[in-house]
């Protein structure tokens, strides 16, 4: 399956095949990589000049020491006298000092591997080539991901190299059941992807659904995981995520153990996990590393924050413009006093301030670290305070925007949806008051309830069971979380417990 896409042909050279003539093979390679100065073609002969070889690699993605010591040196120093078997086999078995070796006659394979740091060895008289592992490119060191910082727990994060990323998972899940299948994506970029799952746990229907969706992709370039996320996700135009993403190996390992599937894409530190339930928006890996009392509370806070950040501006406008009787009198007096002298109606004011807030937030992200945050806070303070004092904006609105903005930060995974939902509700409630607000909330809820992720209902409503509730709104203590969710995982006993607790 993994080589299927690589056979897609680009240009005429690929229709060519390898011949026994070394010279012709070299010409073929040079023609394939025409105008490509980083390609190194090095011809070698052994001591007596009887054997002729040629190695081909790309400069910069290989480890030169390996090529010098383990490929060039043995080739030059070795005389091959009696040929029992083909030349290629003898080279592989007796000469080359490389751990990972593969012989091929396909031009496609050669292109795929040479561009990834492998060295190709051609021998005169053989219509096959040997792919030698000589990868040696620089990768970023393993850092904690900026976007998913936690207080306690593992601090490593994925980087851009696929194999390094996989090694982090391999170290965490040392089981024969851990499967890692390569898959090639992108007609021009030939990007390696890896589908990773635990065989005994994964739901086979979801797995085959994933493969069938991946097979339909026919893009020419995949630079980041999001390229494929948007293509393979359910409800592609929905504001909500139906595929999870993370930069942390511990998160991926945790999700694998819940029976989920991870999709790695080379060149991207972001790994997809699927299926993705709506509640995962509020779960954090830290929930499992800290005391369950604490994390249950913070999970409830996140859910509350989501509701606040979406609803607060709409709620405020509905009260101030339509349902004054809902405000407690003393609050009404003070809000009315503030509103007395400002020029804009509350609804317009809310729109303006929310846009200003979003501008500040976006600026904060794009600014260099350190400067960004300070600047956005100062900007907000200055703009907020000055606007109130100049009687352009009523003070309560600053509080509303402040609450909206701060609670927004608690649910980073829902960033996209939150921005749009907020304006949607605000528009409805500034036209129809609470009536519109309720209509809007209902529409959003209907949409969320309709969402599916690879066939699994996102809200997992049919799956409400006592055991399952232990990891939704709260995070239960580990000794009580006995099962996995059966709609995701095949084998849902997580823990064997002794004693009479089993019937829970």
């Amino acid at each position: 399956m993994n080589s299927k896409k690589s056979q897609v042909e680009i240009g005429s050279p690929q229709t060519a095949v390898l011949t026994t003539s070394l010279k012709k093979n070299i010409e073929l390679i040079k023609a394939l990589f025409k105008d490509n100065d980083t390609l190194i073609v090095r011809e070698i002969e052994n001591l007596d000049g009887a054997m002729k070889y040629c190695i081909v690699y790309f400069d910069g993605v290989v480890n030169s020491i390996i090529i010098n010591e383990d490929i060039v040196k043995p080739l030059m120093r070795t005389d091959i006298k009696n040929l029992d078997g083909t030349l290629i086999d003898i080279l592989i078995k007796k000469v080359i000092l490389i751990n990972e070796v593969k012989k091929t006659e396909k031009i496609g394979d050669i292109i795929e591997s040479v561009t990834y740091g492998d060295t190709i060895l051609f021998a005169d008289g053989a219509a096959e080539a040997i792919i030698l592992n000589s990868k040696g490119f620089q990768t970023r060191s393993i850092n904690e991901p900026e976007s998913e910082k936690i207080l306690s727990g593992p601090r490593e994060g994925f980087c851009e190299s696929l194999l390094l990323n996989l090694s982090m998972i391999r170290r965490k899940v040392r089981s024969t059941e851990l499967k890692m299948k390569f898959y090639s994506l992108g007609r021009r970029t030939n990007t390696q992807a890896c589908i990773c799952y635990i065989d005994g746990l994964v739901n086979k229907d979801i797995l085959s659904e994933l493969y069938s969706r991946l097979d339909k992709i026919d893009m020419d370039g995949v630079i980041d995981t999001n390229y494929i996320t948007e293509i393979i996700k359910d409800a592609p135009f929905s504001l909500f995520k139906t595929i999870g993403s993370t930069e942390r190996p511990d998160v991926v390992a945790g999700k694998l153990l819940e029976g989920r599937i991870a999709v790695f894409v080379d060149g991207s530190p972001v790994v997809l996990t699927l299926p993705y339930l709506f509640i995962e928006n509020f779960q954090s890996n830290e929930d499992y590393y800290l005391n369950f009392y604490y994390t249950s509370f913070s999970r409830l806070l996140r859910i509350f924050a989501f509701i606040l950040t979406v609803c607060v501006p709409a709620f405020y406008v509905a009260i101030v413009a339509f349902h004054h009787e809902m405000l407690p009198t003393s609050l009404l007096i003070h809000v009315a006093m503030e509103r007395k002298n400002v020029p804009l109606p509350a609804a317009v004011e809310a729109f303006v301030m929310l846009i200003v807030f979003d501008i500040l937030r976006e600026t904060g992200i794009r600014m260099p670290t350190g400067v960004g945050q300070a600047l956005s806070i100062v900007g907000a303070l200055v703009i907020g305070q000055a606007a109130v004092e100049a009687k352009m904006i009523a003070a309560p609105m600053i509080i509303i925007v402040g609450i909206t903005g701060i609670t927004n930060l608690l649910v980073p995974k829902l960033n996209t949806s939150v921005i749009y939902l907020r304006f949607f509700l605000l528009a409805l409630s500034s036209v129809l008051g609470y009536f519109g607000f309720i209509i809007g909330v209902s529409l959003i809820l209907i949409h969320i309830l309709k969402l599916r992720s690879f066939g699994i209902p996102s809200m997992a409503i049919p799956n409400i069971k006592y055991q399952n509730m232990k990891d939704i709104y709260i995070r239960g203590p580990w000794q009580k979380m006995i099962t996995r969710r059966e709609i995701i995982a095949q084998d849902n006993i997580r823990m064997n417990i002794s004693g009479g607790d089993k019937n829970e």
Binding site: V320, F322, H324, E325, T329, I333, A336, M337, K340, V431
Partner: protein, 380 residues
């Protein structure tokens, strides 16, 4: 995109863009009324209304909110409310009005259910607005007089009335919806809190002054604050307040009992001619003040206090009921309503002429006092 989708989009957008905002009324476009007072019109026709509205001119940072007063007249109450707009920038908003003050003369001459109709009918006015009778002054003067804190008179007055039952037990707050309920309930008459002006030092301030008693829909007279307390006992509505007595001291009361809880049961006996009402009260109280030589640890002496107070309380309750029977002949205690609810057969016999039956009813009051607690010191 197909045509249908575009048409749908235009349709949806135009509802937002062309219709404007439905019912949109900014907070800055209204005059918030905190309370209003109703008097008779000057030539005895129509009504004169005084509104207390919140002055939102100042900034909220400066602390206290000031109020302004608007007066208007009209042929009907609603007419007068609308006429107030002639003087104010924005329309009056009644969603936060807390109190309606009625003038004594108005309440005597006109049907209160008709006066209240406009407020019950309007969507803005809360059903929980309190209604008060201004006893010896015009309602307009009452609402514009100062209260102790110089804050919003209506709000403060409402709070005084609402918390009275728990602390001093000298009046009973009745809100719009309760007034409606009581007026419609058979065998029960309305009472409303009464206020009057008193001197507090040099300043005149408003004070609660017992209850206004209604006979049917019209004001009949008043109960003093002390009588109101016994009214609350009889009506099973008391929640706090003090009982004072003396055991040995003949000149003045020297003990205070604080009422914690009270339960009043009413039984009735009908002999075909007269009805007999047996009122049993059971009160839990704390002994809070003791200026006599009584040992609180001695059960005998405490029992003596209880007996003494039981005797006093039952006498005062029955004399209050008798006063109402003789002076107003109207069942403000709701005894009739209890019969209506629990003894339909009897009600069929007495219901049509209940006020007569009540007026001539024999009253028997049995009181019971339990002293639960004597506070922290044994003896001073």
């Amino acid at each position: 995109m197909n045509r249908k989708a575009i048409i749908l989009l235009i349709a949806v957008l135009s509802t937002f863009l062309t219709s404007g905002c439905w019912n949109y009324r900014g907070l800055n476009e209204m005059a918030i009324v905190s309370g209003l007072a109703i008097d008779k019109g000057e030539d005895a026709r129509g009504y004169k209304l005084s509104f207390e509205i919140l002055d939102l001119g100042g900034s909220s940072k400066e602390g206290g909110v000031k109020t302004k007063f608007v007066e208007s007249t009209g042929n009907t109450i609603f007419d007068a409310i609308r006429n107030a707009k002639k003087k104010t920038e924005s329309k009056l908003y009644f969603g936060n009005a807390r109190i309606i003050i009625l003038n004594d003369k108005l309440a005597r001459d006109e049907d209160i259910s008709q006066l209240m109709d406009v407020f019950l009918r309007a969507n803005e006015v809360r059903e929980t607005t309190n209604v008060v009778i201004a006893k010896n002054m015009s309602a307009g003067k009452a609402i514009s007089s100062k209260t102790l804190t110089n804050a919003i008179t209506s709000f403060e007055l409402q709070k005084i009335i609402a918390e009275d039952n728990k602390n001093t037990a000298s009046t009973m707050d009745n809100q719009l919806y309760k007034i409606y309920n009581i007026l419609k309930a058979p065998g029960e008459s309305l009472v409303l809190p009464a206020i009057s002006e008193v001197q507090n030092g040099k300043e005149p301030v408003l004070e609660i002054d017992g209850l206004a008693v209604f006979n049917g829909e019209r004001l009949a007279g008043y109960l003093t604050p002390e009588e109101s307390k016994y009214y609350l006992f009889a009506a099973n509505a008391i929640k706090g307040g003090l009982l004072t007595l003396s055991v040995e001291n003949q000149n003045a009361d020297s003990l205070s009992l604080e009422i914690v809880k009270n339960k009043t049961k009413v039984k009735n006996v009908y002999d075909g001619e007269r009805i007999k009402l047996i009122i049993q009260t059971e009160t839990d109280a704390y002994l809070n003040e003791l200026a006599e030589n009584i040992n609180v640890l001695d059960e005998k002496q405490i029992n003596e206090v209880c007996l003494k107070e039981e005797e006093k309380l039952s006498y005062l309750i029955s004399s209050t009921i008798k006063k109402v029977q003789n002076d107003y002949k109207t069942d403000i205690f709701g005894f009739g309503n209890k019969i209506y609810k629990h003894n339909t057969k009897l009600w069929q016999q007495v219901g049509s002429d209940w006020d007569e039956f009540f007026g001539s009813a024999e009253i028997e009051v049995k009181s019971k006092i339990n002293i639960l607690n004597t506070d922290s010191i044994k003896k001073l």
